[in-house]
């Protein structure tokens, strides 16, 4: 039998129901793998006892024949999700010692289905970053290395711990969140599948807010089928999140028909950005050819406002962040600075926030405060919101013209080394999101599918973008792409 930690959700579901192994055995195998993974720094907190308790409960349900799809499946949870009684600090110093007294809607749904929590996963502070290097826990490390090199690479970000953990087989799947590419970019960097659903598909309640109009949680898994299964468990209306959509959740797994004959796949010319490497360009071209071989029609399309997405994003996201992060004031929870004699309430706020927030978070909160400030609101924020309308219209026009899905690269490059961007200007790091950020601005579903290795043996991914609420159709195309790519590479264990 395959090693338990190598199983996909679909394989584990089958094995559990067939009594080939128990949920407890699965949990024990993953607890051991997670405990032995310290060099990856993927977990910010381990919950091995909780995992065994939850696994025993899952075994009881399996024995009783009441086992939903996720029953007994061991998961890692991004630190952005509030989990009752388990440290949840969004990888920020300002939430040190924070123990939620409530459970996020998404994790509640997963636990109700019998999923098992292995622990919390590292990430960029407040999900602001593309390399996991802004984390108060220190960077998560990719299990992947360049051929013949020991250089520590980033698993991407912000869901870097999630990506590292899934690709290193120290959890079976993980939750991620995606505000500008934070599920899809790390998934591409680590050779796994990452799905950002349509804005409103999953509840944001209990997920620490970054930019409320862009944030959306989704699954990070080894296969498209696993993403379909897990999304089904995470999705659905929640009265506690007024932006979660009250529409039916389809059977996403049933969409994996393998049949994409006649589907029209758009190739947006504006995504062929200046300085794009030949290997990314080839990956993209070959991906399109494979979809054509599977019966799809490949259509050149134009999304003319693409180049304005990143600047618009870097106004809107910091503006919303500056508002959301105003709650960290040293009064109700988290870090409070030690005050000097005569210090007042303003000193309390300013000192607590200066000590508790890392540099990138401070930078974005200040940019947000600036673009929202009196006299600048129209020039920056309002203008960016208008640009957002134009970007959404580009996608609407493509879908109205009969395009079923759009194929693009997931990232402009393979994973880079930890610290390699340390001296770069912050904008250089922001360019990582160039292919993913449009999707958040337009609220669309997007999925990153592993599509090959570069010359150094590092994974590269392709992104598929779907219509609003079209996750099922997107999964159909992603499943066909996955089958055609047949990506089977795994990182060699060195940790």
């Amino acid at each position: 039998m395959t090693e338990l930690t190598a199983l996909t959700i679909a394989e584990a579901r089958k094995g559990l129901r067939a009594k080939q192994f128990t949920a407890r055995e699965l949990a024990e195998a993953f607890n051991a793998a997670a405990a032995a993974s310290a060099p990856l720094n993927a977990y910010s907190a381990l919950t091995p006892e909780k995992a065994l308790e939850m696994a025993d409960a899952a075994d009881a349900r399996l024995a009783a024949g009441d086992a939903p799809d996720m029953c007994g499946i061991p998961l890692g949870i991004k630190d952005l999700f509030c989990t009752e009684g388990v440290p949840s600090q969004a990888a920020s110093g300002i939430l040190e010692n924070f123990l939620p007294t409530y459970e996020s809607t998404i994790t509640s749904k997963l636990w109700e289905q019998g999923a098992v929590m292995l622990g919390k996963l590292n990430m960029d502070e407040f999900a602001m970053g593309s390399s996991n290097e802004t984390s108060v826990y220190g960077p998560a490390v990719s299990p992947w290395r360049r051929a013949g090199s020991n250089t520590a690479l980033t698993p991407g970000g912000s869901s870097g711990g999630s990506a590292a953990a899934v690709s290193a087989s120290i959890c079976m799947a993980a939750t991620g969140t995606d505000t500008g590419g934070s599920i899809r970019q790390p998934a591409a960097f680590t050779g796994i599948v990452g799905l950002k659903p349509t804005y409103g598909r999953c509840s944001r309640w209990g997920v620490v807010a970054f930019a409320s109009s862009l944030d959306q949680a989704g699954p990070m898994t080894r296969t498209v089928r696993d993403a379909a299964i897990m999304l089904g468990a995470m999705a659905g209306h929640d009265p506690k999140d007024s932006t979660s959509a009250d529409i039916a959740v389809p059977d996403f797994e049933a969409a994996l028909t393998g049949d994409i004959r006649g589907k029209r796949i758009g190739i947006p010319r504006e995504y062929r950005v200046e300085g794009m490497s030949e290997e990314i360009d080839r990956l993209w071209r070959e991906g399109a050819e494979k979809l054509r071989d599977a019966g799809a029609e490949i259509v050149d399309i134009s999304l003319p406002h693409t180049k304005y997405a990143l600047p618009a994003y870097y106004i809107i996201a910091p503006a919303e962040a500056s508002s959301n992060l105003a709650r960290y004031d040293g009064v109700r929870y988290g870090h409070r600075a030690k005050l000097g004699h005569g210090d007042g309430i303003l000193d309390l706020y300013e000192k607590s926030r200066a000590e508790g927030f890392g540099r990138e978070v401070q930078r974005r909160v200040m940019i947000g405060a600036y673009v929202l400030s009196s006299g600048f609101y129209d020039a920056y924020y309002l203008k960016a919101q208008k640009v957002r309308t134009l970007i959404k219209r580009d996608f609407d026009a493509a879908f109205d013209a009969g395009i079923d899905a759009i194929l693009t690269p997931a990232t402009p490059s393979a994973a880079f080394g930890i610290g390699e961007m340390a001296d770069a200007d912050p904008v250089q790091m922001y360019l990582n999101d160039v292919f993913t950020v449009t999707v958040n601005l337009a609220g669309l579903p997007g999925i990153s599918v592993p599509a090959g290795l570069n010359a150094d043996g590092l994974p590269l991914g392709l992104q598929l973008i779907g219509r609003p609420w079209g996750e099922a159709e997107l999964i159909t195309v992603a499943g066909a792409l996955e089958a055609a790519e047949n990506f089977t590479a795994k990182p060699e264990r060195w940790w």
């Binding site: 007294t101 926030r353 940019i367």
Partner: protein, 95 residues
């Protein structure tokens, strides 16, 4: 637009983040860099374009105006750095 020292100080204050005088020049340079990047939008004419306020066209749901959860003071105060007698404690606010 380039941010100068005084604007950087003002922005830090608006954000309620203490930045000492020695850090203002570096902060001003960083903020200027980011603002320079986003000013690419200036080349775009957005006359007559409606700003996006909601990415998915839907009416926000309403609910009955009743107490759904309450009597949770202990849970709400559980994570406070300083809570006393059922209240959050802060330094003196009014002189």
């Amino acid at each position: 637009m380039a941010i100068d020292r005084d604007t950087a100080r003002k922005v830090a204050h608006l954000a309620r983040i203490r930045v000492d005088e020695a850090g203002l020049d570096a902060l001003a340079a960083e903020l200027s860099g980011i603002l320079g990047f986003v000013e690419e939008l200036d080349e775009l004419d957005v006359t007559g374009v409606e700003p996006m306020t909601s990415v998915t066209p839907m009416a926000l749901k309403r609910r009955a105006d009743v107490v759904t959860e309450g009597e949770n003071a202990a849970r709400i105060l559980a994570n406070a750095p300083d809570a006393r007698e059922g209240f959050f404690a802060v330094p003196k606010v009014v002189e």
